[in-house]
């Protein structure tokens, strides 16, 4: 009992790692701290919010009432602490491209803060400050809102739609703020304020112009990279097609259809083809693909060369019975006949037919002993049960297995 309880107790003492989740309210810091310390994330979040609000209120009051500029730094301390955690705590492991979502509309909140600080301007203007208090802060908040809307929110699926609106509002706000302060600066003839105001106006203009430019530049770069990759791929494909595939064909030709070397070369050729032209087959997962896969596997296992020809389109493997019976016929041909085997599959709107023909010595289908289930059970029985037909014709020229299944009539 104690021995069993011990590891549990040890596990309980180990704190969960300090990582930020991917779906967060603001930055994931509160959740991370809460999980790590064993506290409820809500409690941590409320603590952060309360301290931040108190600090902000203290800063505004101290500046307005006593003109104490250092109060601002003290008031900003909780925010700085949050940012410090945010920057240093790693994000939860996951795919790099997985979207990150935030429940708080950060950009909009920043824009709100900018607006609130701008409302302070009429009061701080009268204080004897070189630059009216709240102007730089308000402009900074607006710029942050633009940056956030352009970078983080543009990748967030929930905010992608609203991000451009917030960005435009913030840019317009910056321009208005700059013009208003510029006007006031000329009335009060304060050069420094005028400089700050002009900077703010320029920032607003830049915020309008830059993000679309950056977005277009990024898209162009991504397009160029994709094009370059595609070009490189087709170049490699063309080269391999002209060199390696040719050589593999020569090897097969020189070594003879049934030989070990030809078999390996053939398997390699198929593999290379699949790799080269991967994704160009629009009917992947259909009967044709299924038959080609079977052929490749059997060519590896037996001294056989299987040519698969398909006509018509089968959007899916019509039935497991058809594929299973075709496989059995192919295995028989590969095992007992070897050499060249032709598989022909034809899909019409009414039926799907598969023909497997080999060049072996042939056999008498009626003389196959009862113990051998291959043809009677795996091919004929299976097709009959599925509502189709199967026939075997064998002679000295080889054997042909015919499988047919009506379409739409299957169970």
């Amino acid at each position: 009992m104690t021995a069993a309880a011990h590891p549990d107790a040890a596990a309980a003492r180990v704190r969960p790692p300090l990582v930020r989740p991917r779906e967060v309210v603001l930055g994931g810091v509160s959740t991370a701290l809460g999980r790590h310390l064993g506290a409820r994330p809500e409690v941590v979040r409320i603590l952060f919010a309360a301290v931040t609000l108190a600090g902000g209120a203290y800063a505004v009051a101290a500046v307005l009432l006593a003109g104490n500029l250092f109060a601002e730094a003290i008031g900003a301390a909780p925010v700085l602490l949050y940012l410090w955690f945010w920057a240093l705590v790693p994000r939860e492991a996951g795919t790099p491209d997985a979207p990150r979502t935030r429940r708080v509309p950060v950009a909009a909140v920043l824009l709100g803060i900018a607006g609130g600080l701008a409302l302070l301007l009429p009061f701080t203007w009268r204080l004897d400050q070189p630059v009216p208090l709240g102007l730089v802060e308000s402009a900074a908040a607006a710029v942050l809102a633009i940056v956030w809307a352009t970078t983080a929110d543009a990748r967030d699926p929930q905010r992608a739609a609203s991000a451009p609106v917030v960005r435009s509002l913030a840019a317009g706000f910056l321009a208005l703020l700059g013009l208003a302060v510029l006007l006031g600066a000329f009335v009060g003839s304060r050069t420094l304020v005028a400089i700050v105001a002009v900077t703010v106006v320029l920032l607003g203009a830049a915020a309008f112009v830059l993000p679309p430019l950056i977005a277009r530049w990024n898209a162009r770069a991504a397009e160029r990279a994709a094009l370059a990759r595609e070009e490189q791929r087709s170049e490699i494909a063309a080269h391999l097609h002209d060199s390696v595939l040719q050589t593999l064909a020569i090897i097969q030709n020189r070594a003879g259809a049934g030989s070990e070397i030809a078999r390996i070369a053939r398997a390699q050729e198929r593999e290379l083809r699949d790799w080269l032209f991967a994704g160009t087959d629009p009917f992947a997962g259909d009967l044709a693909t299924e038959l080609r896969t079977m052929a490749r596997e059997l060519e590896l296992a037996y001294a056989v060369r299987i040519e698969v020809v398909t006509v018509g389109e089968v959007s899916e493997v019509e039935s497991a019975a058809l594929a299973g019976a075709a496989r059995e016929a192919l295995v028989n041909a590969a095992r007992h006949a070897g050499g060249d085997v032709t598989v022909y599959a034809e899909a019409t709107p009414d039926t799907v037919e598969v023909f497997v023909r080999d060049r072996g010595a042939g056999f008498d289908p009626d003389a196959v002993p009862d113990g051998r289930l291959g043809i009677r059970e795996s091919i004929v029985g299976r097709m009959t049960r599925a509502g189709g037909t199967a026939a075997v014709e064998s002679g000295p020229e080889g054997t042909e297995v015919r499988i047919a299944l009506p379409r739409g009539g299957r169970a």
């Binding site: 097609h241 002209d242 595939l245 040719q246 050589t247 593999l248 064909a249 020569i250 097969q252 030709n253 020189r254 003879g256 259809a257 053939r266 083809r273 080269l276 032209f277 160009t280 087959d281 629009p282 060369r305 040519e307 020809v309 398909t310 006509v311 018509g312 389109e313 060249d340 085997v341 032709t342 022909y344 034809e346 899909a347 019409t348 709107p349 009414d350 023909f355 023909r357 020229e397 042909e400």
Partner: protein, 217 residues
């Protein structure tokens, strides 16, 4: 003995094929690119050109370009396409340019010699894959336009031509097709040549679109 020109940009393949063909044919010469091939055909006047579909040089048109540039000689020189490509675009392209058959490079020397003889006799050589392409391209499987009423209709296959193509696609040799359908080998050859003519002359734009769509498999 059939006079043959081997056109392929791989010297190992040319040498190998030459050895494989042995005494069955008389190899007049070899060429490694489009321009050399066109010049050699004009000069040597072979009966049959064993033509690689992918060839460097010229305007980049490969084997099809060789056939097109030798169009004036198509009456006396016949082309048999030889390729590692299973692409419908390549195969149908070189056939429509004027080649009289298509076989894969993995085909053994004996079979190549037999195909050369068939082509030299003015008949067409269809591999199972080419027969499959024809059936697919003429939409016989899609059940759409019914079979041609007469053998002269260019855009459709007649019922008999379809049967012949199906059997070839199933891996039957001409002789076996003949005995299966109770017709003579000569009749089978006539049907195959007729299908080849349709493949070359049919103006069905879907044929090219279809080949492009299939790409390489």
């Amino acid at each position: 003995m059939t006079r043959v020109l081997i056109v392929d940009d791989h010297s190992i393949f040319r040498t190998g094929l030459r050895t494989d063909l042995g005494d069955a044919v008389e190899v007049l010469g070899e060429a490694g690119d489009v321009d050399a091939a066109v010049a050699a055909i004009a000069e040597l006047r072979p009966e049959v050109v064993l033509l690689d579909v992918h060839l460097p040089g010229g305007a980049g048109g490969g084997g099809a370009e060789v056939v097109r540039r030798s169009a004036a000689l198509l009456g006396e020189v016949r082309f048999l396409a030889l390729s590692v490509s299973d692409s419908a675009e390549d195969v149908v392209g070189v056939i429509r340019a004027g080649a009289r058959g298509y076989i894969t490079k993995a085909t053994s020397g004996v079979e190549v010699a037999a195909a050369v003889a068939t082509v030299a006799a003015g008949d067409a050589v269809f591999s199972p894959r080419l027969a499959g392409f024809v059936l697919d391209a003429f939409g016989t499987a899609a059940g759409a336009p019914a079979v041609a009423a007469s053998d002269d209709e260019l855009d459709r296959l007649s019922a008999r031509e379809q049967e012949v193509m199906r059997l070839i696609a199933r891996g039957y040799a001409y002789k076996e097709v003949a005995s299966h359908l109770y017709i003579s080998i000569k009749t089978v050859e006539t049907h195959v040549s007729s299908v080849l003519r349709k493949l070359q002359l049919s103006s069905r734009h879907e044929l090219t679109a279809w080949a492009l769509e299939r790409r390489l498999l």
